[in-house]
């Protein structure tokens, strides 16, 4: 608009004067955090604990369909938390199947989700030492952030040190007509007021599979469309077991398919056209909802990073950081999903943010260790893992130097309910040398998240196969099967667990 260049000039002028002051006076804040998600808040809270003056800027740009939310970032609003609640709802749905109850009518619980989460949010900024601004921040010089409220009001903030933790948002495909107009993303799914009905989820990431999983679980007709392999970056044997189970669970899969266009029909349904790259044919079907889960991208453009010289990866747009989370500008740091090459996980962002604050203000030199980060995919049958995938271990050490112990087991709760446990599987990748250090552990089954956490601790401590075997099992649990692993892949023996 015509007014904005003028406003810009005005702001720039003010900045300049501010900067002039800043040279003589100490900046207003010791630490300024842009982004009130998991990583940013953890860093801010930790810094405040050292008695520092801290400010957090948070602003949520509404998603294309118009969804917006408050402080807390992806995890609590449109990520882990609502996802896990929906996963649990879906598990209850399948529990109903176990209980042989035929009719189940599923209602969405997004509203109750979000209201109870506000309670949780209250504990995020417990002390008044952290000042919160609901503004969109961008750099005007290396120590100055210009914040704009929704109404266009401007705030200028100066700080000694600045942490960028603005995370990422779901991507929309560029070359699919109608994608943006008619499609939604995970940002919107959890805030829908009504059931999405028959849903097409495009993508094969964990987000896609998790969403498709719980939608199936609450009784919706759900289809996943994937271009190539599921769960890229994860162990592929496990990934295919995860999708195999989902297929038997009722999720439909359109493999090797690329969407080409989305159109709205008169019935208000969405007609999706895609190309099957296997057969080369064009296919079409109609859905009530189309959800894109084709990856996430950071929103670095609005930050005006070029002005201050913070380097980003031109391909991903993510900020390049070193082991200390420092960017190319010495006093500017970045944590969480926005950083290049880091896992996009809440706990890593939190840990990195905390450690960063400790290094900045607490005379610590401890670096964040990104090795052996455990994670769990909350698909209908959960998949938890820590350390290297089998492929990665082969690549790093060679197949002759690793030993893979594996087992197909049957959880007790599956046995009596006569549920198929074909995909309940675990494997442990160890070095083959005498000590047999554990490189990776992969577990598919109920409660995988709760199972893998403790093992992650053990593996972090450098656990070896004999050490694991020395631990007495807990009977009857699924986790105990890990301490009983003894069939190697190399032996070619049947890995099905039979009795105690």
């Amino acid at each position: 608009s015509a007014a904005s260049p003028g406003a810009w000039r005005g702001a720039a002028a003010r900045c300049r004067t501010r900067r002039g002051c800043a040279v003589q006076r100490k900046p207003e804040y010791d630490l300024l955090v842009i982004g009130g998600g998991s990583g940013g808040l953890a860093c801010a809270k930790e810094a405040a604990q050292f008695g520092r003056k801290v400010a957090v800027l948070d602003y949520v740009e509404p998603s294309p369909p118009g969804t917006k939310w408050g402080l807390g970032g992806t995890c609590v609003n449109v990520g882990c938390i609502p996802k896990k609640l929906m996963h649990q709802a879906a598990l209850l749905g399948s529990a109903l199947k176990d209980a042989q109850i035929l009719s189940l009518s599923a209602l969405f619980l997004f509203h109750s989700c979000s209201s109870s989460l506000n309670v949780r949010l209250c504990c995020f900024l417990p002390n008044r030492k952290v000042k919160y601004f609901n503004v969109k921040g961008s750099f005007s010089d290396p120590h100055t952030i210009r914040g704009l409220t929704k109404g266009g009001k401007e705030t200028i903030l100066t700080a000694e040190k600045i942490v960028i933790a603005t995370g990422g948002r779901p991507k929309y495909p560029i070359h699919v007509a109608g994608a943006l107009e008619y499609g939604i993303t995970s940002d919107d799914l959890f805030w829908l007021k009504e059931s999405p009905g028959k849903t097409l989820v495009v993508g094969a990431s964990y987000i896609s599979l998790e969403c498709a999983g719980f939608l199936t679980g609450i009784g919706l007709d759900t289809t996943v469309m994937m271009r190539s392999i599921p769960l890229r970056g994860f162990d592929q044997q496990m990934a295919s077991l995860v999708t195999e189970y989902m297929e038997s669970y009722g999720t439909k899969f359109l493999k090797k398919c690329i969407p080409t266009k989305v159109e709205k029909l008169e019935s208000n349904r969405l007609q999706v056209t895609w190309k099957n790259t296997d057969s080369g044919t064009e296919e079409t079907d109609s859905f009530d909802t189309v959800m894109w889960a084709v990856g996430r991208a950071p929103d670095t453009k609005a930050l005006n990073l070029e002005t201050v010289g913070v380097k980003t990866n031109s391909e991903t747009g993510k900020i390049i950081v070193d082991a200390r989370e420092a960017t190319s500008v010495p006093h500017i740091y970045a944590v969480g999903d926005i950083t290049e090459g880091r896992p996009e996980l809440t706990p890593t962002a939190i840990a990195a943010g905390k450690l960063l604050a400790q290094r900045l203000f607490g005379q610590s030199s401890e670096l964040m260790d990104y090795d052996n980060v455990p994670t769990t995919v909350f698909t209908p049958l959960e998949y938890g893992c820590v350390g290297l995938s089998e492929e990665k271990a082969v690549q790093c050490y060679g197949s002759d130097n690793i030993e893979v112990y594996h087992a197909y087991y049957k959880p007790l709760e599956f046995t009596v309910a006569e549920r198929d446990a074909t995909q309940c599987y675990m494997k442990m990748v160890c070095l083959r040398e005498r000590e047999q250090r554990i490189l990776g552990l992969h577990f598919i089954g109920p409660n995988a998240g709760e199972v893998i956490q403790g093992f992650a601790l053990g593996i972090k401590c450098g656990a070896t196969y004999p050490q694991l075997m020395k631990t007495i099992g807990i009977h009857p649990t699924c986790a105990e099967e890990i301490t009983k692993l003894h069939i190697t892949k190399r032996s070619g023996l049947d890995a099905t667990v039979t009795g105690c």
């Binding site: 896990k84 619980l109 989700c113 949780r120 893998i452 972090k460 656990a463 099992g473 009977h475």
Partner: protein, 542 residues
Amino acid sequence: MSPPLLPSQLFLCYFTLFVVTLFFWGPDKVRRGLWDMLMYRSPAWSSQGVPAGPKKPPSELLGLQITLLCLGAVLSRAMAAAAYELLVLGGGSGGLAGARRAAELGARVALVEPHRLGGTCVNVGCVPKKVMWNAAVHAEFIHDHPDYGFETSGVRFNWRTIKEKRDAYVRRLNEIYENNLNKARIDIIHGYGKFTADPEPTIEVNGKKYTAPHILIATGGFPSVPPDSEVPGASLGITSDGFFELEELPRRSVIVGAGYIAVEIAGILSTLGSKSSLLIRRDKVLRTFDSLISTNCTQELENTGVEVWKHSRVQAVTKSPSGLLEVTVMSSAPGHKPTMEVIRDVDCLLWAVGREPNSKDLCLDRVGVEVDARGHVVVDKFQNTSRKGVYAVGDVCGRALLTPVAIAAGRKLAIRLFGGQRDAHLDYSNIPTVVFSHPPIGTVGLTEDEAIFAHGKDNVKIYTTSFTPLYHAVTQRKVKCVMKLVCAGKEEKVVGLHMQGLGCDEMLQGFAVAIKMGATKADFDNTVAIHPTSAEELVTMR
């Protein structure tokens, strides 16, 4: 009596017998042919019409001797190969594990079991218990269904359905165990084995005697019931064994005991809809557990609707004409006058007041195997009893009455005896345990009190947390999760972990590995959390 022979050995024996029979009573022609062969001549039946070659000096005696020698050699070799090296008394977790591992290491093993294979764990313990616990968990979840958006009106629970399915599963396991033994070429001797007074340790089963250089006692235990002389009418009650025979869900249950079995059964019965009372002698259940757990568990039992009668003892039990029981209970809280009350219309009185070892009828005195005052077989850390060549594992020893402990001890013993690892023995420290209460309890290592006793109050640091798991964020029913880390020394080595809450059952195993390895609080802190789980709270404690 010697053990049966392998098929190949049997074949050799029968073949030799067959040849000998032919030699003495076969047709003349065959007899003559055999005789010729024995005399190193070409047999008569193949040399018809052809003049016999030069005759060797006939020495009939020598031939006969060679025949007998061959026969003897074959038989004795067969016998030697078939003699048992290990006899196992008891086909439960410990016995089966020891037998199978020994067989894998090449030993000839026989296993004596009077009942179904699998022992307590499979038939009347962990396995059917967990199945019932799962049923109870379903019942709990049904309460949460409306909160999660599911309409579930008119859900009815049918005890018979789950009982039938459970029994079928247990039978399947029994078969699997039998197949496993057969596959491992372990002989199953059905019957009750007792020691005899023979000079070498010998077992008698159904009148037949068996012996082996190594004998393993793995006979387990059984639930105790107070004698009628102590509590009149006590025998009208059942035990955990009887719990698994119940054909219907009792309407009114009284469970006596404060141990984990009492807690688990009270939880299952109450959650599935039986009005349940738990009678405990003091003010808390699970008193050997960490105080956090015993306090919280008592609280949770009351929250889930179990009537906990504290400071209470059963005085008498009578059967009313209707067939239901009347349980007279004396409650005497400290500082209060004892009161006497009667619980009426009880259709299930269940004693869970401890377990006793199955050692009395083994005639252990005949071989000089020492037992303690309560009848537990006394063993050293290598599972050796006081008699050389006789060992014991599992519940019969009275230490850590857990399936995986018995299994591990049985395997270690087999490895020591037949695997050449002379030092193999089970480390009884840091054994993780789960109590399938509602919610489940997980515990490993020292309690806070034990740690203070062992390390001194100043050297023990405690971390605790209490939170509502995410699952309950949207439910009206709130069940909290409590956790405690017990750390010792300057380096804050984690020596104990105690928790109760949703998911704690599956959570514990991995942490047990780390604690066994000597993980410190700093190691816990350095582990990245898995979000959102309850387990992550353990690595983010402050």
